[in-house]
């Protein structure tokens, strides 16, 4: 039975959770002797006050859209993919191999190939935990976490021993050729007469991320496969009674999930750094969990939540630059958002449901 109207379910509950997380974050800032109001002001001017700030906010948001979608697709199948971090690392490796070893004539073809490479490597990295879950019943949460650690070791090995250019001490690949340089938002918006900061890293990947949001929406709500994924996620037993194969859905959902997480690499590796470095992902895989929970696993929700976290991330960087608040504040906010929108969901929901029930009774009698 739906106690609450739909708008309360999709808007009110996440907003109240977000508010609780914000209040607690403000208390944390107060506790370390800083002024939360000044901090918020600084974050807003730093992240949204200029096209430079917006450029960073949207750049981070692009990362989080991919990882958020990755977690969301797995959630729909009732699977919890904490391995976005490792899948995005491997995606970076895929992008680097595509960009370094194939001479591309133009970025448009290169970005398509790089997207495929990134998705392929990410999906491959998700495939093993998915197979082990489906066939051997090993818990996907722990295996994907382990694969994050193993991915870090793989990347370390590849960068230090194989991809590092001769004579360089830095564990990173050489720069990608000029031909695969992705146009930034500055380049894209200039023909329309919109002046956008040249230094900001937001690039054409943002468009691909938005397309990915739309495609995931189509997949989940407008295709038979999406129906099967959702059915499997709601009830494994009912799904198997309806003839939906558990192994097949687990594998497909995780491959799509891993692929999406891997695709993040076209933004951070190909679009921004233009070479593969050790810590390229910077925790974006984990932020995907908060983004998916906040966005209620709906692509549009993920889109909005990704922009919110992009703002928090860029704002947090500004805070670390101008105040004594370290960047880890964003990890705390992320934890609080996961806690309130994910684990303590019922704490917000129960009183609200009671409130709506009381209103409804008042209305009918």
């Amino acid at each position: 039975m739906d106690v609450m109207p739909k708008w309360a379910e999709v808007v009110l509950v996440p907003l109240i959770s977000l508010l609780l997380a914000a209040i607690l974050s403000a208390l944390v800032i107060l506790a370390i002797g800083e002024d939360p109001v000044a901090a918020v002001n600084l974050m807003i001017t730093g992240a949204l006050g200029s096209t430079y700030g917006w450029g960073y906010t949207l750049y981070y948001a692009t990362n989080f859209m991919f990882t958020g979608l990755a977690v969301a697709v797995a959630f729909h199948a009732g699977l919890f993919n904490i391995g976005g971090e490792g899948q995005a690392m491997l995606g970076g490796l895929g992008v680097a191999l595509v960009c370094l070893f194939i001479p591309w004539p133009h970025w448009t073809i290169a970005v398509l190939a790089a997207t495929v490479g990134a998705a392929l490597f990410g999906a491959l990295w998700a495939a093993i935990p998915a197979y082990l879950q489906a066939k051997r019943g090993s818990h996907i949460v722990i295996t994907t976490i382990m694969f994050n650690f193993i991915a870090a070791a793989v990347l370390n090995y590849m960068l230090v021993n194989i991809l590092r250019p001769a004579g360089s001490m830095d564990p990173a690949t050489e720069r990608f050729p000029e031909a695969v340089h992705l146009p930034s938002l500055h380049d894209l918006l200039a023909p329309f007469g919109i002046a956008f900061s040249k230094a900001a890293p937001a690039n054409v990947s943002l468009v691909i991320a938005i397309i990915a949001c739309v495609l995931v929406w189509v997949l989940i709500w407008r295709t038979p496969l999406g129906l099967e994924i959702r059915a499997y996620g709601k009830s494994h037993r009912a799904a198997s009674y309806a003839g939906i194969g558990a192994v097949r859905i687990t594998m497909i959902a995780m491959l799509i999930s891993g692929g999406l997480a891997g695709m993040m690499a076209i933004n951070n590796v190909m679009g921004e750094a233009e070479r593969l470095v050790l810590n390229a992902v910077e925790g974006a895989g984990f932020i995907g969990i908060a983004v998916a929970l906040m966005g209620r696993s709906h692509p549009f929700g993920v889109f909005l939540a990704a922009i919110l976290f992009g703002f928090l991330y860029q704002g947090g960087a500004e805070l670390a630059l101008w105040t004594s608040i370290p960047r880890e504040l964003i990890v705390v906010i992320q934890a609080l958002v996961i806690l309130f929108t994910g684990a303590l969901d019922n704490m917000v929901r129960m009183p609200l449901e009671r409130l709506f029930l009381a209103f409804r009774r008042g209305g009918t009698t």
Partner: protein, 324 residues
């Protein structure tokens, strides 16, 4: 080729040291999961305990007060996990993830505003650390062939928490399998409705399980920062909480097996620190990255069920609803 070198006394000695935090965390998870509450927040609880034990030990100069502070921090996170997963019947995995991030962020945040040393605590000296204790006759017996060095180096000369952790193994076994509380705890993880019917509080038992888990994680974290190392550094748990969970599955939720499983993981961590010994013993060089990844790879192999099927407590991960 000299395989015996792989079991050098110094390697075995650090095996014990490195296995202790894993063992404590593993037993912590054992209590929680036997009570039907999955806890992937072991990592976060250890990290919080590591920071607060080091911070308080550094400011007060007493490692014992530090230990208490560490246990307190871990218990606070346990309480959050309990409220989220028992009281509000939330998703236990998501709650655990949140706790891990909360600890990872808050420890650095507080460390930075407290000590201004880039997210670490000052190095602990003197009474701020758990010093190694020498067991009786260790020096006198060290000249006895074979058994002497084994006793004086491997068994003697650890900090008190190592012996506490080892005593926790029979302790856990006794509590779980020989007391009324243990019987009820195991029952609540298998069939909470039956426990409820018998008139015993499911919520109370589960909170007790989560609480014990918090205390043990607290000791584990305090040992990391005040026994194994001298102070807290950012993310110093380095995945130990997750390895402990894998060891728990390997041990099939049994205390004695948990000891052997964590010793195995401790050995892998210890040998990874000594590439020179491996090269000497095997005759070829093993990539350091492979050595670092070994515990995680072994975890996956174990989880894949190549060592027999592990069946978790049946009601694990499911919130208990009294009436339908």
């Amino acid at each position: 080729m000299n395989f015996l070198a792989l079991f050098d006394l110094s390697v075995l000695d650090s095996t014990v040291r490195l296995a202790v935090p894993l063992l404590l965390a593993c037993l912590a998870g054992l209590f929680s999961e036997r009570g039907g509450i999955f806890d992937i927040g072991l990592e976060g609880k250890m990290l919080a305990a590591a920071f607060f034990s080091a911070a308080i030990a550094a400011t007060t100069g007493s490692v014992w007060i530090g230990l208490l502070a560490g246990i307190g921090a871990s218990l606070t996170l346990s309480a959050i996990h309990g409220v989220a997963s028992i009281t509000f019947r939330g998703n236990q995995l998501i709650s655990g993830v949140a706790i891990n991030f909360l600890a990872a962020g808050l420890t650095v945040l507080i460390a930075q505003s407290w000590f201004q040393q880039g997210g670490r605590t000052p190095s602990l000296i003197g009474g701020g650390r758990f010093e190694p204790i020498t067991l009786p006759f260790a020096d006198a017996l060290s000249t006895v062939p074979f058994l002497g060095p084994l006793y004086s180096e491997l068994i003697s000369g650890h900090s008190i928490l190592v012996y506490v952790a080892l005593l926790c193994v029979p302790g856990t076994w006794y509590i779980l399998f020989r007391t009324r509380f243990g019987l009820r705890l195991r029952a609540v993880g298998e069939n909470p409705a039956a426990v409820d019917t018998a008139g015993v509080s499911v919520v109370g038992l589960r909170f007790a399980a989560v609480g014990i888990c918090g205390v043990l994680c607290g000791i584990a974290g305090a040992y990391l920062a005040t026994g194994l190392q001298a102070g807290f550094v950012k993310d110093m748990t380095a995945g130990r909480g997750f390895i402990a969970l894998a060891a728990l599955i390997f041990a099939k939720w049994r205390p004695w097996h948990a000891l052997w499983a964590t010793l195995l993981f401790g050995y892998l961590q210890a040998i990874a620190l000594r590439p020179d010994i491996i090269e000497g013993a095997l005759g070829f060089k093993v990539q350091v990255q492979l050595l670092d990844a070994m515990p995680y790879i072994l975890t996956v192999v174990i989880l894949a069920g190549f060592v027999g099927k592990a069946i978790p407590p049946r009601a694990g991960g499911e919130p208990y609803v009294k009436e339908r």
